[in-house]
Amino acid sequence: MDAMDEIVREFVVESYENLDQLDSDLVALEGDAGSRSLLSSVFRTIHTIKGTSGFLGFGSLEGVTHVGESLLAELRDGKREMTQRTTDVLLTMVDAVRELLRSIESTGAEGDLDTTAVVASIQAVLDGTEAPETAVAEAPVEPAPVDEAPADEAPAEKPKPAPVLPGRKADAPLPAKPAAASSAPEPAASEPAAEEAPVRSATESSIRVDVEVLDALMRHVGELVLARNAMTSLAADIDDPALVHATQRLALIATELQQGVMKTRMQPIDNVWSKVPRMVRDISASLGRQVRLDMIGKETELDRGVLEAIKDPLTHLIRNAIDHGIESPEQRTAAGKPTQGVLTLRAFHQGGQVVIEISDDGKGIDPQAIAAKAVERGLRSAADVADLAPQDVFQLLFLPGFSTAEQVTHVSGRGVGMDVVKTKVDAIGGVVDVQSTVGVGTTWRLRIPLTLAIMPALTVECASETYAIPQINLLELLAIDDKQTGVEYVGEAPVFRLRGRLLPLVDLRDVLGRTPRESLVGAVIAVMHADGGRFGLLVDHVRNTEEIVAKPIAAAVKGIGLYAGATLLGDGSVTLILDIPAVARRALELQEAIGDDRDAVATSTGETEQMLIVSVGEDRQVAMPMGAVTRLERFPMEVLERVSGSLVMQYRERITPVVDLAQVLGLGSTFREELAVVVCQRGDRSVALVADEVVDIVECAIADRSEVSGYGLLGSIIVRGRVTELLDLEATVRDADSAFYDVQDAELVGAGSEH
């Protein structure tokens, strides 16, 4: 059974079910001989089995069902009356089909069951050869006479008479089911009892459920989650231990139920991916490309609704990668690459989302070509694109009417392009972005919510109103404290200096047309990720994180284009769910100047680089590129532990290798009460660098560095009049964790670096 092909298994399960229906249909037909609908239903079943068995190469099965189908067709079309004899031969046929299916189920092959007799008896009916009523008629019910009866009658017409099947059955090799073999002489009547237990293994372990039922179940669970939220909020107010206890139980059960129901709807992404190899083969053949396909994470599961929704975008991205990404073998050879390109599909779960990546090692996307094309198509003015950072240029790809194919091919490049991908991904609350390096390759990344029905969200307040922000768009939260807001203005537009990079700020009050904010103090910046870019959304407070269920909203509200839906909070109030990409676009319209902010970012990363300066020991300073730093933390000295000679610490529930910068500088170990810890993270690996204090973040021109250096250092630079050693961060990190840079396409969310 393990060896049985998945398709065959499905075929067997489906056919068994259909046969059960067919049995009752046939019996009902005896009472209601003229019923076209019953006949059509029977016909369809047999037709399906015939078609599939032909496709799967089950010749005997196809032969039996073929004659049966012919007979049924005549009955259905009214060319023939239903008689006792026709019912009988049809039932015999059903039995033969069952027998064959059983053999297929247990051995994966039809075995050597002889079906010629059944075929012959049906053919006899078809030909109108009047085999006496009794002869075949008895066959299914009383096995004993069958062996002789038709044998006596039929030889005149057909060499092989009807009854052979029952006899042969006993001899048929049915290793999985000796019991059935012994009961073989009784074909129809006694069969169910004998076959049920051992044979239906495939059908019993799974049932087919109407998707509607699952959808309804999911909706109800959604309501339950909301009711639970309401209970939890009530219990918090009332503060009765018994109520709290009961509520906790309810919450637990609701969560388990939610997970269970979600699980019933989960399907591995392989259901969509299984068609990819063929597609890649065909496309690459027609385009003259050589492509190897790697698929990683086939078993990653998604909600079937989500899976359905990403089918088209995925297909499009794959076509696109082969058509526009991977070069022809000649071009690849010329570029010094192997002639065979590699297309990699990766799927994995991350933070309650599914990430799907489509990477190629092709020619990459040239930002300048994109910009030029956008200007040529009249989508942007030359001035607009001139100063865009590469990451922003890639966003132009998602504009409607943008097609990058220099030559329109039949595979892609018909002008419908990435905008369709983006629209579809947006529609399910996902995000898509792209990273590309010219000559090296391109990676498209989709982040998709696990399920459409229930999503984690952050509830925030703005001008005394509450709004929900989908967690999928949220990167981090920053509170603006009263001492130093960190907010600066570029022209009119506010920006926030986040780990050395400028983050454009969007005030939710402005977007929603509420009363302007009097003071930034106390406000919260929610760092959002939308349309491949980042921005900070200014809100008054953060209330909570809640699991919300998006409810359908009236077209009048949907049409505003700012809200993804509405939900009910624990207190029963209706809350609008913000459509973050739409909010970002609205904000852009509001403050055209935001483009200038991006320029500021772009130029600031030009000749100079953001450097993090830390102090080490008495009077030494070390600089490292800010872009590679994920987080700055402070910890007491005690967190450091020594494991077999290496320093480590527990950081975010992981054992993280530690580099003491004092040792890098050759200062020996120094005692510090508190440590300034610089965390570099890549994928799920991290390395912690330990220093005394974080001094500053500065812009400096690293070209001015002196070449004098020790191991782990690149040289030294002058920062505000002090000599500062420039850390060779890559070498240092690699020393601590040699596999650090092996993490492919690392997830650098929150790292403040967009390469």
Binding site: L226, L512, R514, I553, A554, L562, T567, S573, V574
Partner: protein
Amino acid sequence: MRHQLATFKLDDCLYGIDVARVQEALRMQAHTPVPHAPKGVAGLVNLRGQVVLLVDLRVRLGREGFGEDDDPMMMVVKVDGEPVSLLVDQVGDVLEIDGSRFGSPPPTLEPALRDFVTGVYQLDDELLLALDVDLAVQV
């Protein structure tokens, strides 16, 4: 032929809606405003777990909308099977009126109302305006 109409008052005019279209009448509940919504959308309200659109009928009928101090009532009507809540001054009785009393709106009816009224019922002491519900909720 008797017509059954659920009635309500708005600015001293009496309006009627076919009773079959009306789901229920309720006191005004806490509702959520919708920034940038078209005029006539008063917000969203939680009706037994369903998020229902609130339509300010005054605005729709070309009048000053309900303000903070008003205490309107909600008339929940079904449009394409989905509930929509109309904000009205006061919900009245269900009247059973003979079909023969139905006629086309008088020429004196103000133009702002004309589009939203399918006809009038001549009552003994006043006029009952038959509201075109489908049009009224199309904000």
